[in-house]
Symmetry: C2
Subunit: 236 residues, 2 copies
DNA sequence: TGTACATCAGTGAACGCGCGTTCACTGATGTAC
DNA sequence: TGTACATCAGTGAACGCGCGTTCACTGATGTAC
């Protein structure tokens, strides 16, 4: 009976998801190192060994959380970009930045899992790479779109890249096809800025230093847009 | 006998330092969460309870490591700045950037302790604030020096700050007295970029993405100098 | 439709481990007269 | 200089805890004829 087999499988899928949800919630109170299979089992009302029917080990559960995290962030960024007018490149950029920041502040421990100190003893498997690139893919497309629309004209302020830097830029250009090397490097600078800021904010470095962080962030987002040379499409 | 009392105290100070050193080394293999008093005691050849003669608790030992870390980083940055020609502002900036990066790559777990995910259950006490600001103090002085030497003339590319952002800038201007608000905000953007880059690098986000990281970093450092508007002193 | 068998989920006990911290204690080192 | 006392460093046992993982097991759910 295919229907009943599906029934069992459906329960299984649901419980698997429930375990991951509880684990995610525990992450939010204990941090990545404090994630405990026994605690998850307790909250599930199961005996601890039963978890092994669903996840072969603690590391495996962590991997699931990491992949889910990258996907959640990636989706948020994709949605933010898609919701903006395609020709309004500064607007798309701002939407992307704020979506990253908002997601990080709403899920600080998941953010820490993805972008903070590596979890000791945990080695991320190959499975995570696909999900990992979703956010930066959106960014690369945004930059490439702007360039090809003639809306990426940065102020002249930088020396030409060294050959080694240019070589790196050439490899990164995969993410933003057709964009010249020095603009790729500017984009990289801006991208690292974004995560630097968000990490400072999520990890508490701005405590007692910056109060209205959203306002300061919003202004810096515009500043970075200017540095990259993002303008509204001249065809718009 | 003052001399003999000093002898005992000297041994005490030495053992205290030795404990901290061992703890720091363990940090480097286990990460912040894995720091264990018992393991430290084992390596000291002491019984675990003996550690309590020197540190009242595990958190206290962690606090010492954090303060030492900020001081080590701060010293490295101070030395790098001091070793540069005072009028060569881009040079000073590059020296500061590379000293942060070099220190972080040489002490990745200490860096993680200072700038990575907060240690769960640990609340940094007030004692850390003085050491915490050493690096940014150097940076603030560098920017202020450049401004007053007429060597801070950024390209025009940013909208004027919102009132809220300007208010934040006014408070941050303590670090770089006399520098106008919009330049303070550019400096803040650059500073967050620096730690964003270094965190990406230390935490492995550039793995399989950027190979010659030093070259890419060096170029981006110059790019950021241009964004801030740092130039060599016109009086030099 | 009914029965015999196979698969799977969950149990409960156990293994072996490491942790932070407390406490009463023994000796050695330092102090005061 | 010598002795009686106080301070301090380090010991060893113990408390109470939680962890990941294994394993033989019981029932329930699904499958094949």
């Amino acid at each position: 009976m295919t229907a009943s087999r599906t029934a069992r499988e459906r329960v299984r899928a649901e419980l698997t998801r429930e375990i991951a949800d509880i684990a995610r919630r525990q992450l939010a109170t204990e941090g990545a190192g404090g994630l405990s299979l026994r605690a998850v089992a307790r909250e599930m009302g199961m005996v601890s060994s039963a978890i092994y029917r669903y996840f072969p080990s603690r590391d495996d559960l962590l991997t699931t959380l990491i992949i889910d995290g990258y996907n959640a962030l990636g989706e948020a960024v994709e949605r933010a970009d898609a919701a903006s007018a395609p020709d309004d490149f500064p607007g798309r950029w701002a939407a992307v930045c704020h979506s990253v920041r908002d997601w990080a502040l709403a899920h600080p421990h998941e953010y820490a899992l993805l972008f903070g100190s590596p979890v000791p003893g945990y080695q991320a498997p190959q499975d995570t790479v696909a999900a990992r690139a979703r956010d930066v893919t959106v960014f690369g497309r945004l930059v490439a779109d702007a360039f090809h629309a003639g809306a990426l004209t940065p102020p002249d302020m930088a020396p030409p890249p060294s050959p080694a830097a240019a070589a790196e830029a050439a490899r990164l250009a995969e993410l933003m096809p057709g964009v010249p090397e020095d603009l790729v490097l500017r984009a990289l600078a801006t991208w690292t800025w974004l995560y630097g800021w968000v990490s400072f904010e999520v990890f508490g470095q701005f405590e007692n230093t910056i109060e209205d962080r959203r306002a300061a962030f919003a202004h810096t987002v515009r500043l970075q847009a200017g540095m990259m040379g993002l303008a509204s499409s001249p065809n718009a």
